[in-house]
Symmetry: C2
Subunit: 491 residues, 2 copies
Amino acid sequence: MSKALPTRSENYSEWYNELVKRADLAENSAVRGCMVIKPYGYSIWEKMQRALDDMFKETGHQNAYFPLFIPKSYLSKEASHVEGFAKECAVVTHYRLKNDPNGKGVVVDPEAKLEEELIVRPTSETVIWSTYKNWIQSYRDLPLLINQWANVVRWEMRTRLFLRTAEFLWQEGHTAHSTAAEAIAETKQMLEVYATFAEEWMALPVVKGVKTANERFAGAEDTYCIEALMQDGKALQAGTSHFLGQNFATAFDVKFQDKEGKLEYVWGTSWGVSTRLMGALIMAHSDDSGLVLPPKLAPIQVVIVPIYKNEEQLAAITEKVDEIIKQLKKLGISVKYDNNDAFKPGYKFAEYELKGVPVRLAMGARDLENGTVEVARRDTKTKETVPLEGIAGFISELLDNIQESIYNKALAFREENTTTVNTFEEFNQVLDNKGGFILAHWDGTSETEEKIKEETKATIRCVPLNATEESGVCIYSGKPSTKRVVFARAY
Amino acid sequence: MSKALPTRSENYSEWYNELVKRADLAENSAVRGCMVIKPYGYSIWEKMQRALDDMFKETGHQNAYFPLFIPKSYLSKEASHVEGFAKECAVVTHYRLKNDPNGKGVVVDPEAKLEEELIVRPTSETVIWSTYKNWIQSYRDLPLLINQWANVVRWEMRTRLFLRTAEFLWQEGHTAHSTAAEAIAETKQMLEVYATFAEEWMALPVVKGVKTANERFAGAEDTYCIEALMQDGKALQAGTSHFLGQNFATAFDVKFQDKEGKLEYVWGTSWGVSTRLMGALIMAHSDDSGLVLPPKLAPIQVVIVPIYKNEEQLAAITEKVDEIIKQLKKLGISVKYDNNDAFKPGYKFAEYELKGVPVRLAMGARDLENGTVEVARRDTKTKETVPLEGIAGFISELLDNIQESIYNKALAFREENTTTVNTFEEFNQVLDNKGGFILAHWDGTSETEEKIKEETKATIRCVPLNATEESGVCIYSGKPSTKRVVFARAY
């Protein structure tokens, strides 16, 4: 708490790294690329999990659990899938250690070598579809709507807390259907669930769209995504939902008998969001004083700090505060009373600012006299003195208001930072000077997409679902195009 | 559903294996020793998790998340810990696959060998204490009360669904304290939490006790446990809570400055329960027709089956049923209406018996006329016809009654199968003919304990916390003893 955070304008990247650590969200562990999610960070993740899990269940999904390990041969069964994941996976080759014959601790026992190596799951399509083969015989077994909460490992070379870590936590939905149409509808439904969660819970406006072939999930026919804009003008992919076609069913020979008795391959989807959302949450809303959390995901929604000169004053304040706490809890509002004598109010104010507690109440001797309390909101840093009469209802409305206001701020930011361009020169200029989302025509070829990426480091984030049909020419090739796509530099 | 289950008396072990599969709880995966937890099984586990998690939070604990991988050198730092786990751990040696130069799929890339091998966590003391070193400086940082929900891997040679699997799900609490007394109090508190959970949620009576030195957790000073008795007379350890002394603090150099400014090693505890509890739940209560679930952990508490001859009857029944469902849901009771036309009522009855749904309602034409419904309880298999008037209150009480009654049955079974013996001959006779818990005097030496184990396969489950002091002689050595311990053959 001694040193101030780096500011966003100074060094956005350092600001993020420091904020994650100082707000007690996460830290790097001794294992390269693996993070420790600290209790405060984890409690935000738990709130995300709970909200998402409820939404999954409301849409008819059930949770299950599949093995951490994937036999190497399974990973290889779907050609583009293995191509996508082989280069970054942790491989288990042995199942035992033994005492070092040279007396130096323990060593891998060469006699305990596995016949077939096991891959620590980077995603579970292969192990799940190998299981589905036994679960699906008839159209009566479909749809199969399953989700799993799990850890996965992708051996990334450059890692960053929450945004890109070797191990991360996520959920992965894996569904099986009797028709392509039904699987596509599922894919789109889950995209909507993610968008709703991002906007209503995380206060994060997102663009819904489809990935280009280049950016598609390894093994999918189509990848839908939600894309969010961070405060430094870079995009962040916040969730994906894949239509797998019959690719994994074919690879693992999963067929069903339809109503007419004909055998057909099953249609699949998969969809996931991860602890990466924590990174999005932090980067979208926070400021130079620390975290700004939307109230719906804040572990502590209201903190109350007493301001007192002696024990007697503290006792009188505490009596009032106890009443407030009771009223707030009745409305389901989480509240912490910080009467720790070891720290001064100013220190506490800074600490709760850093941690993004949405509302801070301070009560001093004068408030006691006047029957008031000082209410400060974290997002705007404004303060007002409010009568205690009806305080719980006031706070409850204020929390709703903050949730909405954080969303609106992020939306306004995105709108300001979404630019329509018509030439490659304009494109480059906006990219380098302003950043953000750039709406531009593109000729639909991977070749052009790659060239633009090479020259500018910008990628096509998605073809927005709500893109209007309009004829134009590709900013790079000059070839005809029917709609604009969203370009950006991205995390 | 076609074939009946093996009976318990015929083949208890087969009965268990078949029941786990047929009731859709879990199955073996393609990866040796790793299970797939199916949706129905997982939903029971979720209920267990939620109840335990609430109890952990009520006792002041917070969740966090630590890495899956443990550097080999960390595991070695606590001597008895590595001794306990080295022989059964999955070892990651490489971080990349590459295309087989011979064109046969993918192979491990020999160039991607890790400098130091990583162990897939069998338990997380080492990685957590290496982190605590940075989190703890002063007595003000203590106590640290943290829990983690995670998967762990222990490469067991003989595995059984839920009871012993290579990968399993669990929670592991890891706490740090400034005094031994406080750490011991924490250890005992968590044992009480586990016992309360087992008895009040799982309807499973347990003996609370302390393990002998032989059976202690690798790295602990003392291991407390809860032991339950299964229907075949074998014991099952259902949860453990360890007082770690300063062992891990010493191994990882975790010191704190006390109020006087003196540096001291931190005192630790760890405690865990796992998906093994699923095995205990199944084996303690179920019968030859299938699962018997205590209502508090049943994913579906009430199932309603309509009995009808035509569409018109079904419509009239459904109308009544909808009312019942509304009333039950208002009381927080989970209910499923099975109006699937593809199966006959008899088939459905057997199916829900197999799945252990605590209460089944059946409504036919006569019930409709009389304003009644048939209520069947799973545990006793008794049926009665009950007026619809006040049905929700009736069911709610019935569920409480079933919960209690399952517990009482298990308790009576345990009491019948707990035998006090005074000679080794008696001991052997009871062990071979009756099984169960055997209370006997023991001289307190590991030597005697091991000899008894070798000769009889019975182990000391625990020294019960509530053992009465009485002088006696060891059944094996004839040496003096001050209290009886609990022996049993165990899972």
